[in-house]
Subunit: 212 residues, 2 copies
């Protein structure tokens, strides 16, 4: 498989997977790039180009087999296996993340949770006992952890990320509002509502200006 696939293409594949999974549940067997594009707000040309990085999925003029395309994309993204995660930071946000019902059905399991606050360490969140963040390196050495979720305040987030990285974690989901650093072989995705808001205001502002 070529390694130089643009990140924006990889970012769109999970969106395709979600739409295709929904179609499969509805009993749909075939879909073309036109319909998939309309459903997702992406041009059909973009969908065809994205998929072309991974070989030919569709027959000319026949569209894609929903089942086959879904299976292939899941294989490509690594969604056919389970992924183990740890969460650091069990404040209000951390608790909401642990309770989030969307992870487990997709194969993402939070297996350990950590906090720095002695009054939280030892308490339970859902079925998990909160461990001290001091125990994080040891836990990471003992069990294979694929993904670290960082839900600590901005001031301590980079330190937590450094600890995760130093102990072999290669993917980090970062909720702290910082420009996080990591070596090139580590992936970081930021969940940052402020950045999302700040890119929408550009469009709302432009509409307001036109409406005057």
């Amino acid at each position: 498989m070529p390694l130089e696939i643009p990140d924006v293409v990889i970012d769109r594949l999970p969106v395709y997977v979600r739409a295709l999974a929904s179609m499969e549940r509805q009993g749909r067997e075939v879909v073309n790039s036109q319909e998939l594009g309309e459903r997702l707000g992406v041009t059909p040309a973009q969908i065809r180009k994205d998929l072309s990085y991974f070989g030919r999925f569709g027959k000319q003029g026949r569209g894609y087999s929903v089942k086959r395309l879904l299976e292939e994309l899941r294989q490509i993204l690594g969604l056919t296996r389970e992924w183990s995660m740890v969460l650091v930071g069990v404040g209000q946000l951390g608790r909401a993340i642990v309770s989030y019902a969307g992870f487990a059905p997709q194969g993402f399991r939070i297996e350990e949770v950590f906090d720095i606050d002695p009054s939280i360490v030892g308490t339970k969140v859902d079925e998990l006992v909160v461990k001290s963040v001091d125990a994080l390196p040891e836990v990471l050495r003992k069990r294979k952890v694929d993904i670290g979720i960082v839900a600590v305040p901005a001031e301590t987030a980079q330190r937590v990320i450094d600890t995760l990285v130093a102990n072999g974690v290669k993917a980090i989901l970062n909720y702290a509002p910082i420009a996080a650093h990591a070596p090139p072989d580590v992936r970081i995705k930021d969940i940052d509502p402020v950045l999302a808001l700040q890119s929408m205001t550009y469009y709302v502002k432009s509409q307001d200006a036109r409406a005057k």
Copy 2:
């Protein structure tokens, strides 16, 4: 200002704003695209190209004035004013969103919160009294609301979005795991940790394969 600026460019501008604001706090006066790029994991060419959509900010070989570039980008994105928001869905996630300390300093204010559950309506979250979602249309007609935050379960999310849109809200921050629909003049940004995880697994999976 040209209207055909790609969305991905607009999405990067808030990241530039954050980095420049941090530099300004550190007393930095000038920065070049090389340094800004290294800080953000973007190529210098990409930064120059992104900024070129909005005119010439830097002098050849001299770099950008941190203060001026920051001001211009804030103007472009509409970050020099306050934005009013309502939140629908006051479960664990909704509470974490209300408590999130990152919104207010950037001018984003949650002014009203709504829920469908009669046992929550009337209670307080921080300083806000939770209103019934039945009152949402009336509130939206009475006061100018720029942004709606949707933190309800997937089953009811599209209905909430429709209500927001029908009553004039032009920007929606959606936390529900659905492929949300809205008219073309409404912006929707999804905060979806599963999509973020699913695009990271591609890279981790590839590394695992190479390591074997």
